[in-house]
Symmetry: C2
Subunit: 415 residues, 2 copies
């Protein structure tokens, strides 16, 4: 480990940071250290400008004509390809639509349809819960389906993969611990057994380089409102490898997935390409904020993002352990930066209360039950001095016992 840097050394890191000018492209509220961009990414003037144009001119003045004139109809495909560049997907395989949960449903059904005679879905007990809930939903429509869970049926997901498995649903980065899986290795292992893999990229798209095509991935889904900064609840994406597009069917067969949506035919005929994974009309205003955010991403090199992300998270771990180590914190994330996403989690017996005290003092992270404090580091708008200040404030809270204030004992419904 390096010697503990002092404030001067940290200011020098910010000076040398080539991504630092990107911070000016975002709305960074005064006095806030926002370490929750892994839950909701920051706003940007670019997103606001797109939203304003879409609302005032395209909706307000051009009305229905904007489906053609402003390209509303093709936005899901065009934005999909732009996200594709960030996740290693060649054009024509990614579309922005619906929600991550709904896209998982489509991908699992499609994968099971491609593996007739196999009935097992493998997932992770440690997954973000919606993945498991949706897998249950898919199983409810397929009486033969069986769900096997890493952490319940075996400690390691690889032990669960055999010739009965149709599909493996797996998170690239765990939402809670930040642990990063080896995409190419697990994909290869599953495919060797004849299974398909659905990668959940919610915590990797925009956080680190992903190479879906290089890993020979089958399916992927992900969200656009975290590291991609698309705005609250901006639509999700789904990736389907070109080699599967001809045969992959999904049951949410709405008119946007039809080969000829405006011919108003009586029977469904799936589009030949990725459009078949669309279903109904998409929320244009929310899509336009995402478009503004992706205009910024077009200028960004993911390798630079990854390098800074590892430096920020390494620094955070080093400072927290040096300054707060005596207060019962335990690192929950991998210590090795190459095995970690762009977040750091610490366990603490009073994680909820400590996080509330942090938030009151302007350090925004989040709490995950039962005892995790989670801090996300978004290299486009978080700097090294933000890390320093966050740790200073955390140290003060833990040393003074400020988190014991009774206000922090009452839990809100949503955190």
């Amino acid at each position: 480990m390096n010697a503990l840097p002092d404030l001067a050394a940290i200011e020098a890191m910010d000076e040398a940071d080539r991504l630092r000018p990107m911070r000016d492209r975002f709305v960074v509220p005064e006095g806030l250290i926002y370490l929750d961009g892994n839950s909701l990414g920051a706003a940007s003037p670019a997103a606001f400008a797109e939203l304003q144009r879409a609302a005032a001119q395209e909706w307000g003045q051009d009305l229905i004509r904007s489906w053609n004139k402003a390209g509303w109809f093709d936005m899901p495909i065009q934005l999909g390809d732009r996200i594709g560049r960030l996740i290693g997907a060649a054009p024509g395989q990614t579309v922005v639509c619906d929600t991550t949960s709904i896209n998982i449903y489509k991908a699992l059904h499609a994968a099971m349809g491609l593996r007739p005679g196999r009935s097992v879905i493998v997932a992770e007990a440690s997954s973000f819960p919606t993945d498991l809930y949706v897998a249950e939903g898919v199983a409810s429509t397929r009486p033969d389906a069986v769900l096997r869970l890493e952490g319940v049926d075996a400690p390691d997901i690889e032990e669960l993969i055999d010739e009965t498995v149709a599909v493996v649903l797996v998170n690239h980065v765990n939402y809670k611990s930040g642990a990063l899986r080896d995409m190419a290795a697990l994909t290869n292992k599953a495919q060797d057994a004849g299974a398909l893999v659905v990668w959940d990229l919610c915590h990797t798209a925009g956080a680190l380089p992903v190479d879906l095509d290089g890993a020979k991935a089958d399916f992927a889904v992900g969200c656009t409102y975290k590291y991609l900064n698309g705005g609250p609840g901006s639509p999700a994406f789904i990736y389907v490898a070109t080699r599967h597009l001809g045969e992959a069917r999904q049951p949410l067969s709405g008119w946007w997935g039809h080969a000829r949506p405006f011919a108003f035919e009586q029977r469904y005929a799936a589009d030949a390409g990725i459009r078949r994974f669309q279903c109904g009309t998409q929320p244009v205003l929310s899509l336009r904020a995402l478009k503004g955010a992706l205009d910024i991403w077009d200028e960004v090199d993911m390798a630079a993002v990854r390098a800074k992300s590892m430096a920020l998270t390494d620094l955070f771990i080093q400072l927290v352990e040096a300054k707060c180590g005596s207060h019962g914190l335990r690192l929950e994330s991998p210590r090795d930066g190459t095995r970690r996403g762009s977040q750091v989690s610490f366990e603490h017996p009073h994680a909820y209360e400590v996080m509330q005290a942090l938030i009151e003092r302007g350090v925004i992270g989040d709490f995950r039950a039962p005892s995790t404090m989670r801090f996300g580091f978004t290299p486009l708008y978080i700097g090294f001095k933000d890390v320093w200040r966050a740790v200073e404030i955390m140290e003060e809270i833990l040393r003074s016992g400020a988190w014991k204030d009774e206000r922090f004992a009452v839990r809100a419904a949503v955190t």
Copy 2:
């Protein structure tokens, strides 16, 4: 039929119109006669203001805290109840989420689950196609399911309803002809046979009074970007009668439908109420534009909307037939206003070209293959003089043959 009104008589109708002040609450582009609010409703300063606040303050400044502080999380339920007032649904039965297509999928699955041992889905060949495509998708996940279509298997939907039918999926107002069904009578007929009904309200919500609870309806779905003016692609709604909520299950079982979404439990447990019909995170910005639009609806009496709607559509039919009747137009909508939604459709052998010529002259309706010109009348921002002017322009196009211009012969992909 009344004597043909002249311009003075029509101006007097506008003077006497008690809904006329509502026009000022909308953005009505200069020089446009917008008869396509049944496809995309008009924008409003109220929607823009909500959008601006949600983007600049709640996303930009308050960030993740807005899920609680700005009530983002409960918006789907709150907006659902406000739409409920317009469709005769007592609170707790309606939620705004996802798309109409996806909500049809949920409703059909839930209905079939409530009728084990029955395998028939009845729908209409004349339906907006996505309803049929989604019914096919549901059938693809239920090997026993059979689809019976009015217009294919029998001329009248009532003949298709027997003790093998699990669910009838039916449009309240036909998207193309504007024909309005008797909701109470058909619901009663289906329920007498032990079947359930899913009502598609896309062309009635905000167009005329609906009384779901009064009709003892089972399920309903609908869109919010037509008569409700929620903005392009604003999320749809789904209604489930209270008596079904305990047992109705749908397979898109994402975390927003969980009884305790923030407990991050490993197993799905459906919420006891209408929240179980939610799936994943909703597009907040698009929802907020809808909220602005519903603020206007809160002041509106649906009976007044219906009265003006019938007067507008009656006048349009009368004027078109009197002034353009010699040019091959044929009324496709019911002549009886009580059996018609808030739109009027005319067939013409060159409907596409005539509509293009109308659009070029600022009269915006739409074309539906193969030969329908469709005109929507939205009483909140369309007046009687708009009807007069639209017919004057149509008469000029038909009389002069201006629609024969070669520019109008090229069909755009989306209309």
